[in-house]
C-alpha cells in the first residue's frame, strides 16, 4: 500500500512537471471547466429568480446540492479520468500490453498514468459553492455534519469512479466503451438538483441503481436537517460495494483480454 502511494506521488509529480511545461494548457483547462460550471449555475440562478423555491428547495439549498455533486465528480475527474480512454487510447493501440509486462497492478497503472488537471477547476467550483451555500443558509456545523461532508465527497467520488469503471471495462470486448460509459455517467446530471422534483422512477434510479443521489441530494438533506437525510450514511457502503464490483468486473475483463488480446 505504501509502495503504491509513493508510486502514485511520483507519477503525480512527474505529471505536474509536464503541466508546468504546458502552463497555458493547464490554465485554459481549469478555466474552461470553471466556465462550463458557471453557465450551469447561471441557468439555476435565472430559474430561481422566477420562482421562490423548487418543491420546497431555495436557491442556496440547490447550490449546496449542486456543489456536492460537483465535488464528487471532481474526485473522479482528477484521479480516474483515464478510464474514459482505456479503449480508444490503450486497447486499440496495443499500448495496454505495456501495463501487463510491469510488476504493478494494471488498473493502478492506468489511473496513475494521467492525473487530470481539468478536475481541479471542478473541485474549486464545488468548494466555492458549498462555502457560499453554507454561509447563506447559516448551517450549524457539528462534528457529525463535518464528517458527513467528507464522507459524501469521498464516497461520492468512489461512486463516480466505480460506475465509470464498470462501464469502461466493456472496452475489453467492444474496444470503444465511451458511449456505454456516457449512458450511465450522464445520469449524474439529475443529481445536480433535489431528487424530490423528479418522478418516482428517477428517484429510485438515482438512489438505488446509479446512486449519484447519495453524493448530493441525501447528504445535502442531512446537512440541512431535512427528512431522508440519514440515508446519506449509505453512501460509503454503496461506494465500497460498487468499487468492489467494479474491480471484480475489471479482473473478469482482464481475463478476457488475456485470451483474445484485442
Amino acid at each position: 500500500m505504501t509502495r503504491y502511494l509513493s508510486l502514485y506521488w511520483l507519477f503525480l509529480t512527474q505529471r505536474l512537471k509536464v503541466l508546468m511545461e504546458y502552463r497555458a494548457n493547464f490554465i485554459i483547462g481549469a478555466l474552461s471547466t470553471i466556465a462550463l460550471q458557471a453557465s450551469s449555475i447561471l441557468a439555476i440562478w435565472v430559474v430561481m429568480r422566477q420562482v421562490p423555491d423548487l418543491n420546497g428547495w431555495t436557491y442556496d439549498e440547490i447550490l449546496l446540492v449542486y456543489g456536492l455533486i460537483t465535488l464528487a465528480k471532481s474526485i473522479n475527474h482528477m484521479f480516474a479520468d483515464n478510464l474514459w480512454t482505456l479503449g480508444r487510447q490503450y486497447i486499440r493501440s496495443g499500448g495496454f500490453d505495456r501495463f501487463l509486462v510491469r510488476p504493478i497492478d494494471p488498473l493502478f497503472h492506468l489511473l496513475a498514468d494521467r492525473f487530470c488537471q481539468d478536475g481541479v477547476g471542478n473541485f474549486l467550483v464545488g468548494v466555492a459553492l458549498v462555502v457560499k451555500a453554507s454561509v447563506a443558509l447559516g448551517i450549524q456545523w457539528t462534528l457529525l455534519k463535518a464528517l458527513m461532508l467528507v464522507a459524501a465527497v469521498v464516497s461520492g467520488g468512489g461512486i463516480f469512479i466505480a460506475l465509470n469503471l464498470l462501464t469502461c471495462v466493456t472496452s475489453f470486448w467492444i474496444v470503444d466503451s465511451v458511449p456505454v460509459t456516457r449512458l450511465v455517467f450522464d445520469n449524474h446530471l439529475f443529481a445536480q438538483y433535489p431528487l424530490t422534483i423528479y418522478p418516482k422512477a428517477i428517484n429510485i434510479l438515482l438512489t438505488w441503481i446509479v446512486p449519484y443521489g447519495l453524493a448530493s441530494f441525501y447528504p445535502a438533506s442531512y446537512l440541512l436537517d431535512r427528512s431522508l437525510g440519514n440515508l446519506a450514511w449509505a453512501a460509503p457502503v454503496a461506494a465500497a460495494l460498487l468499487l468492489f464490483l467494479g474491480y471484480r468486473f475489471w479482473q473478469f475483463g482482464l481475463k478476457h483480454y488475456g485470451s483474445t488480446g484485442t
Binding site: 508510486l7 511520483l10 509536464v18 500490453d97 501487463l100 510488476p103 488475456g258 485470451s259
Partner: protein, 343 residues
C-alpha cells in the same frame, strides 16, 4: 534447468464471423458464430541461461503471439510455459519483475516526459535500489550515449534515439530474461550497428537470456548463434544459424534495370534467372561458384544496363525453401523447389 521452457504451446483465437449489412450485425449480436484460428500450434523449445536466440518468421507466422504468451500478456490455449520456473500468465506480476521487454513498434516511455523522468518512474516500479539505479544510469550514459538525451522528452527524439531510450527503459532493472521485438525496425545502418553492439555487450556480460524477433537477418547473424524459425504457428527450424547461413547465405540476388527489352541471356555457371520484367531482370548466383562482378560483366556485355542492385535472399524466400525440403536433402534446388506446390 532451462530459463525458458515451452511445451506444446498452442494459441487458438476465436474470431467472430460477421455477415454483411445491418441484418448480419444483428444476427451476430444474438447468435455469434466463431471461426477458430490457430496462431501458435504445439511448439516446443528451451532456452538456457545466457542464450541469445533469434525467433523469426514472416508476418503472421505467430511470432508476436508467442512473445505475448511468454511475457504473460496472453493466456495459452494449450501446452505450458515456464519462465524461471513460473507460469508467466498466472504469476504475471512476479514474472514481470524478472523480464525486460522492448516492443519495437510502440513505446513504453511517456511521450511528454523527459527521458530521465520516465526512467525514474520505471526504476521505482521495479524497486531498483537508488544506488544501483545511479550506477545503471552512468553505465547507459556511456554504452547508449544517453547523457545528452536524459533531459529530452520522448516526443522530440529521432527514431534511433527513441530505440536507445527504450532499451535503457527495458534493461534498467537488469532483468534475467529479455524479449526484443523488432528492436532495429526502421533504423539506418549505423544506428542498427550500435544497437546490436549494445545488446551483445549488455546482455552478454550479464548473462541475460534473450529472445529476439526480427525481420532483419543482419540482426540475427550478428547476435544469435541459434535461430528458431516459425511458420503458420509451427516451428520449422530450430538450430544453429550456421546451417542456415551455409544453405542460404551463399546466394545473392542481383537485379538489373535495362534500357531496352531483355533478350534471353547466357549466364555464367552458378547463376540463374529468377524473373524478367519490363526492362528489368533478376538473377540469383552462388557466391562460391561465381562473383557479382563476373555476373555483372557477363550481363553488361549482352545488354545495356542503366542500374543494378544486389540483395541478400529474404526471409520469406528462405522459409519457402525450408518448407520444400531444402534442409532435408542437403542441397538447395531452387528451380525444383519452386515447381513444387506449397504444402
Amino acid at each position: 534447468m532451462s530459463v525458458i521452457e515451452v511445451e506444446n504451446l498452442t494459441k487458438v483465437f476465436k474470431i467472430p464471423q460477421k455477415d454483411p449489412g445491418l441484418g448480419g450485425a444483428i444476427k451476430g449480436l444474438f447468435a455469434p458464430r466463431f471461426q477458430s484460428k490457430t496462431a501458435v500450434d504445439r511448439i516446443n523449445f528451451r532456452l538456457d541461461r545466457g542464450e541469445i536466440v533469434g525467433y523469426i518468421g514472416v508476418n503472421g507466422a505467430g511470432k508476436s503471439t508467442t512473445i505475448k504468451m511468454l511475457t504473460g500478456v496472453l493466456m495459452p490455449t494449450g501446452g505450458s510455459i515456464r519462465v524461471l520456473g513460473r507460469d508467466p500468465h498466472r504469476q504475471r506480476i512476479d514474472n514481470a519483475r524478472e523480464i525486460g521487454v522492448v516492443f519495437g513498434q510502440r513505446t513504453q516511455l511517456w511521450w511528454d516526459l523527459a527521458l530521465i523522468e520516465s526512467l525514474n518512474l520505471i526504476a521505482r516500479m521495479y524497486d531498483v535500489p537508488p544506488a544501483r539505479y545511479k550506477q545503471m544510469l552512468d553505465e547507459f550514459s556511456q554504452t547508449l550515449d544517453l547523457g545528452s538525451l536524459l533531459k529530452v522528452p520522448v516526443r522530440n527524439m529521432s527514431l534511433g534515439q527513441k530505440m536507445r531510450s527504450e532499451l535503457a527503459a527495458a534493461l534498467i532493472h537488469e532483468p534475467k530474461v529479455v524479449y526484443l521485438d523488432e528492436p532495429t525496425i526502421g533504423l539506418d545502418l549505423i544506428v542498427k550497428e550500435r544497437i546490436r553492439d549494445f545488446i551483445k555487450a549488455e546482455c552478454g556480460s550479464k548473462g541475460m537470456t534473450v529472445m529476439l524477433t526480427t525481420h532483419d537477418l543482419g540482426d540475427i547473424e550478428q547476435l544469435c548463434r541459434r535461430v528458431i524459425i516459425i511458420d503458420e504457428g509451427r516451428v520449422i527450424y530450430d538450430g544453429p544459424i550456421e546451417t542456415i547461413k551455409k544453405k542460404f547465405g551463399k546466394f545473392r540476388e542481383i537485379t538489373f534495370e535495362t534500357t531496352g527489352l531483355v533478350p534471353s541471356l547466357s549466364l555464367p555457371p552458378g547463376c540463374e534467372l529468377l524473373s524478367t520484367g519490363d526492362r528489368k531482370v533478376t538473377l540469383r548466383f552462388d557466391r562460391i561458384q561465381t562473383t557479382a562482378s563476373q555476373v555483372a560483366s557477363a550481363v553488361m556485355k549482352q545488354i545495356e544496363v542503366r542500374d543494378f542492385s544486389l540483395s541478400e535472399p529474404d526471409l520469406a524466400n528462405i522459409v519457402k525453401q525450408i518448407y520444400n525440403g531444402a534442409l532435408d536433402n542437403g542441397g538447395v534446388e531452387p528451380e525444383a523447389a519452386d515447381a513444387r506446390p506449397a504444402p
